[in-house]
Amino acid sequence: METEVRNRKGTNKSPKVNRKQDVQDLSDDEMLKKSIQKLKEINDTDRDSVIISGDTVVRNYTGDGESAPDTPPPEMAAEDDAPIKPSTQAISHSSVPTDTLSKDKPPLELSLRLDGMSISLFLLAFITRVWRLESPRGIVFDELHYGKYAGLYMQNTFFFDSQPPLGKQLVSLAAYIAGFDGNFKFDRIGSPYDSLVPVAAMRMVPAFFGSLMMPTIYNLLVELGLSHYAGALAAFLMIFDNALLAQSRFILMESIFMFFGLFGLLCILKFRRLYDRPYSLPWFSCLCVAALSLSAAVCVRYFGLFTFALGCGILAKDFWGMVGDRSVSDRQLLGHFFTRAAIFCTIPLSLYIGTFYVHLSLLYKAGPNDNIMTSAFQASLEGGLQAIIANQPVQVVHGSQITLRHTHGRTCWLHSHDIMYPVKYADGRGSSHQQQVTCYSYKDVNNWWIVKKPENEELVVGEPMEPIKNGDIIQIVHGLTSRALNSHDVAAAVSPHNQEVACYVDYNVSMPAQNLWHVEILNPELTDGMWHAVESQVRLIHVNSTQALKFSGRQLPDWGFRQHEIVSDKVIDQEDTVWNVEEHRYTRTEDKKEREREMIRQEMIPTERKNLTFWNKLYELQYKMIFNNQENVAGHMYASDPLDWLTLKRGVAYWISTNSNAQVHFLGNIVTWLSGTIGLVGYLGLFIVYLLRRQRACYDLSEAVWDKYCTIGEVLCVGFAIHYFPYFLVDRTLFLHHYMPAYIFKLCLLAAMVEHGHYLLSNYLGAPRLAQAYLLIVGLWMCSILYVFAYFIPVTYGTSELTSEQVLSMAWKETWDLIIHKQ
């Protein structure tokens, strides 16, 4: 349908379909005319014409690389930063002008171009960001975490965080250079830093990256084919947005993450323009830097995966255009595909693994929250568990005393105590009234169990030792009460669809003991099928019922002291049935002499243990990071949901002085904010209008302008959507600052729409007066942005004391909860 219409119009701009024909159609003198015109245009300062000429020039090098090109090699091509989307531009018509052009350039030239606009944008942003960077000299919001992590890096203490480490490492590096020793307790938001904490240095990292974002944005928009003014406008909007300012002044990850993402996109857009110079140095460097930068974004926050996906999408679209380009042979096409794939696989992977390598090799000491990791992992850290288990025997044998830890998920140990299950539960079901078995989250003497072989009655480690192998049948006896772990066909207390697990008490009521368990080691290859403490992960399968010992995840009521329930479950292959021995010693008897003898023998037992390899650690850490749901602060006072973000319904209180109303409140510039939303709606509205009209063959915009309009949407609208909509599916507490990446795309779109409005007025309507008035309005609008920015400076920088009236005067919306101290 579409092509038919275009053919009717006979436009020679219609892409691809008629390309071949076009070239043939053009007669020679037409071509000559064209080239002359283009030469003229090159001298012209007007940007748009440079675009066209640039295109033509570059286009000449297109061609089958295997046949000798009749034009000079690519290195000679004119330096040119005109934005071009090669796949959509018409193919070149002439090869005449190139020679004249390239003759101007010496073959080996090192040119240094300074982009004044980029530099001044950077400087302006940098000044606003570093002004009084040290104040407030207290812990602001999430500095609590990131500052703490930096401190832990200094002290090489392991910590667990569900986000990757690159951003934290950058901050820590700055802290390290500034001489931070990590001796500061980041206890709560608002507490003052002591003089040893290099606050400014640490805050400099986000401030620096936050300022670099401005020139990046500027260049990004220019790459998209917008004017320098639009690019500068977008940067202006970002510099004078209070939210972005606040977010890049404190030790927070967003600005680092956003810079890497945007810079990667910029490189990809630049790369697209090098379509015609494949495998040249700039081509490679753009591609590599793009991969590096995008993956750096992922290494700061997993959310960067969306930016990464956007980059790959642009790349894929570009490649799809190349598939349609018949001048590229099939073999070249494959070559291109594999080059790109190779670069986009190796660089991100190695960067990602590299950051973790640094992470894991720096953090070699045990720390406060490492009990989320498995025993094996903990044992590889200096101090902590390693100190406890350093001299314990490895081989679990008949007579071993062990604690059994629930390996994955919640940390707890198999536990029992001398209290029975209640005869009847609250819902009327009966129990076995035998001794309770639970999973207890703290170390306790009741966590000790003794492993024994059923055929052997004595609990002592015999001579020779009888090691327990994969597949053995054992009994497990509770250390203090000497009752055996038992399971039977009685519904469990809280999960009635599972079997109860108890320590067997013989009531002589035709309920025989079923206390045999089958040891199934999950990783026997590591230990030659032997059961080793810490290292071996085991399942205990109940012999009579073939059900597995399982942590059910539910809590017992008060009669079970709110400890966690243990059941046996017929579904064997699940995580909650995996256990490992953590602490381990061999049973010493009451007899003093014998104990001594045992002690002596213990020294002969091999105690050295294999350290986990980097890969094992990485695997486990990754696994925990992905599947560990961190404690969710549901219903945080300043939490907001994605729909609130569009209208800036709520800010976040970042910090408040203890003795005055000086405070940092995370709030955006409301004018920018609302205009951004309007810009987005405007873009989509206009897009639909254009689309509807085009379908009826009314072409309001020239093909080039329409293409530009679409490209803007592809990058910016999709960018917005891909960074915004996933939050609707995220099941955790969200804050306004999660919106920042999407917000930046929205601002860019706004700048593009301002330019498009001007284009419509001056070109489409042909009303220069109106266009001037429009510019005036834009100017006024920018002034109002500056005004609002200045108005909210006190709560963005948090440096000035405020009276409660002043604070109240800033609560422009009823829902903005700024804080006032009551006298």
């Binding site: 219409v5 099939d330 539910r554 219903g635 009826r696 599916l729």
Partner: protein, 727 residues
């Protein structure tokens, strides 16, 4: 079972003997140009369907799986008792209607799966559901036929559905799924029939298929909210169609608008109307108080016969000196409650406990007082002072004489909130007892009204809001719900309403005037349903079915685990795995072709047209599959295996189309002699393999009598191909 293979014999048994006659038949089957052939095959498919679906439909004679819920809902409709469920009402109403029409009296309690149906007239409901479920096969036949105009494709597509064990199992019981699947397939059938009328727009058939589609769509969404996906599917089809109409410059704009309006009428307005009608019936039929009352607001409850608020009369406005009860306005919120027990050591100040309590109790009564003076007795003739929006008040607990009080201490459970206590002696407390009443969306000086107004109590000094949620206090608080003072004023759980209001000096009014209209009830049931749905989250440590497990038939679901009659819901692995292979093949081939087209390789236009038509049909079916499957990945709620079945229908039809296409192209690749009979052989082989696998696995659906002698050696044991299958 003999019947199953009837058709396969027909096409395969005689590969090479006699047979111009036979070849002719096959050719006409392949070319799909003879109506009598069409009807004959369609008839065979229908007969086979009826035979497989109604075989053993009465067994087992006990409650199976979720029949315990849906049967119960049906009974409640018959008894007209109000209940609450997270699904919209149509499916349950249909079950109720089936039962009612076949003489079921609604007396069976449906307590738990496995309860015997002895003497209960359950057959009507079961047969009704099965009949709806049986319609899927003919529907699939028609859909594939209309999309491809190829008889072999239609036969293959529908037989994949016919021979699936999972669908058979799911459709044989009193469940919502047969009804839902019926509506989904009926909607798509309506759509393809509607599109077949393309050349006769605005004709009688055109309109009736349009309306048929609309009604079926409304049925799908009113059975379960997943019906939304089929609406999206139909919507996409329609948008595409309109876009083409609009892009055709021969059509005037007016004509396009006419098309648009007609579709909007049939597919938007009509379904919405029908949806409201179903709810109207639902709310009208259920007029007696039942166990669902507590989920709804006071105003709603006042409409239910037997509820304590029914026909109640009390003053409509709140005055100083009135005795009231306060109900938390969130779904299932309790009454503000206090009792003489104190908070224990370590849970804030040792003052009197303040909780919410779901049952009606004398301890829920509160006296409304001015902030600075004690009210007179009801007998005095002081002027009546009404409480207005923004007034400062105190609330005194009538039985103990303590005021609702809050201060900067941690609340017992929610540590970030402030503690709320009962404080003072005989109503004399301190300044921390003062609360400001705010009416939500209320005007300045508006009088606070009973039941209808949602109000918030803001603590005058601290600025926090009286708050309650569903977190329980420990044993010392009798496991009643916590009440706290929430510093976040805008929290949705801060809202309360006055339910009971006693003040003799004001005239009693009847709540009839505030009785929520249909629209309000409609809105409220929806908020409650969505909250209920959002609350269906898996608990910590609970095993739920994961979407990735479904298409690979990883694990089934026990329907009936009663000794002696076991039913296990599991797909026919041949069909399910085949579907996946074929789908992957299709995507791959599609991609290769797209590349070829993009490279602009020359191609025979006739082959290209044929391929594009097939690909278009496949593409739409693939979209249907994706729409019914992928969204489950992002759903936070608890998921079950049977959620995959709507998607399965689409993927089975896709397989049918692709298989027919392959069968048609293979002979052309083979040398002459084999080519002639290859088609027959292949078709026969496919159909008979399907039938045989159906026969093998059918005990799963028809019931495994594991107590009968000889069961140990039953073939079903050897069919446990995956360890995760639990039979």
């Amino acid at each position: 079972m003999a019947e199953d293979s009837a058709k396969s014999t027909k096409s395969s048994a005689m590969g090479g003997k006699n047979l111009p006659e036979f070849d002719k038949l096959i050719m006409s089957y392949r070319r799909s140009d003879s109506p009598s052939m069409w009807w004959a095959i369609f008839g065979v498919v229908c007969v086979l369907t009826a035979a497989t679906r109604f075989y053993k439909v009465t067994e087992p004679e006990h409650v199976v799986w979720d029949e315990t819920h849906f049967g119960k809902f049906g009974s409640w409709y018959i008894n007209r008792t109000f209940f609450f469920d997270v699904h919209p009402p149509l499916g349950k109403m249909m079950i109720g209607a089936m039962g009612y029409l076949t003489g079921y009296d609604g007396a069976f309690p449906f307590v738990k799966p496995g309860d015997s149906y002895e003497g209960v007239n359950y057959l009507g409901m079961r047969v009704g559901c099965t009949a709806l479920g049986a319609m899927l096969v003919p529907f699939a036949f028609i859909i594939v036929w209309q999309m491809t105009r190829s008889l072999p494709a239609a036969v293959l597509g529908s037989s994949l559905i016919l021979f699936d064990i999972g669908l058979l199992t799911l459709n044989q019981y009193i469940l919502l799924d047969p009804i839902l699947l019926f509506f989904i397939m009926a909607s798509v059938t309506g759509l393809v029939m509607f599109q077949a009328q393309k050349d006769r727009p605005f004709g009688k058939a055109w309109w009736s298929w349009l309306c048929f589609t609309g009604v079926m769509l409304s049925g799908a969404i009113s059975t379960k909210f997943v019906g939304l996906f089929v609406i999206l599917y139909v919507g996409l089809h329609i948008i595409k169609e309109l876009w083409d109409l609009y892009g055709d410059l021969n059509n005037s704009l007016l004509y396009v608008v006419k098309h648009f309006m007609a579709r909007a009428l049939g597919l938007i307005v009509l379904p919405i109307f029908m949806y409201c009608v179903y709810f109207y019936i639902h709310l009208t039929v259920l007029c007696k108080s039942g166990n669902g009352d507590g989920f709804y607001s006071s105003a709603f409850q006042s409409q239910l016969e037997g509820n304590s608020l029914y026909n109640a009369s009390m003053p409509l406005e709140l005055a100083i000196g009135a005795e009231v009860t306060l109900k938390n306005a969130r779904t299932g919120g309790g009454y503000l409650h206090s009792h003489i027990h104190l908070y224990p050591e370590g849970a804030g100040a040792r003052q009197q406990q303040m909780t919410t309590y779901s049952h009606k109790d004398f301890n829920n009564r509160w006296l409304v007082k001015k902030w600075n003076e004690e009210p007179g007795d009801w007998e005095d003739d002081d002027p009546i002072e009404l409480v207005k929006n923004g007034d400062l008040v105190r609330l005194e607990h009538v039985p103990t004489g303590r005021n609702v009080h809050s201060h900067r201490e941690q609340a017992p459970v929610t540590k970030r909130h402030h503690q709320v206590t009962g404080y003072g002696e005989n109503g004399i407390g301190d300044i921390n007892d003062v609360w400001r009443i705010e009416i939500i969306n209320g005007g300045e000086g508006e009088v606070v009204k009973t039941v209808v107004h949602k109000i918030r109590f803001v603590h005058h000094l601290v600025g926090c809001c009286l708050h309650s949620h569903n977190k329980q206090l420990p044993k010392w608080g009798f496991e009643q719900m916590e009440v706290s003072c929430n510093p976040n004023v805008h929290d949705a759980n801060n809202l309360w309403n006055i339910e009971d209001n006693q003040f003799p000096k004001l005239p009693n009014g009847s709540f009839e005037i505030y009785a929520p209209g249909f629209l309000e009830k409609f809105m409220e049931s929806h908020t409650v349903m969505f909250q209920g749905n959002a609350g269906l989250k898996p608990k910590e440590g609970e095993l739920t079915s994961q979407p990735w497990q479904w298409p690979i038939n990883f694990k089934g679901q026990w329907f009936s685990a009663i000794e002696g009659f076991k039913v296990y819901l599991l797909g026919n692995p041949l069909i399910w795995w085949g579907n996946l292979v074929i789908m992957a093949a299709f995507v791959f081939v599609y991609f290769i072709n797209a590349c070829k087209t993009q490279r602009g390789y020359p191609e025979d236009p006739q082959i290209k047209a044929q391929r594009e038509a097939t690909f278009a049909a496949c593409g739409w079916l693939l979209i249907g599959w994706a729409l019914h499957y992928l969204p489950f990945y992002v759903m936070g709620r608890i998921l079950y295996f049977h959620h995959y079945f709507p998607a399965l229908l689409f993927s089975s039809m896709l397989t049918g189309v692709v298989l027919a296409y392959i069968l048609e192209s293979i002979p052309s690749l083979l040398p002459g002699i084999i080519a002639q009979s290859a088609y027959h052989w292949l078709t026969g082989m496919i159909i008979s393999t399907l039938a045989y696998s159906f026969y093998l696995f059918s005990p799963l659906a028809y019931g495994m009598h594991n107590l009968e002698p000889g069961f140990e050696n039953h073939t079903i044991h050897s069919l446990k191909w995956l360890d995760t299958w639990e039979f």
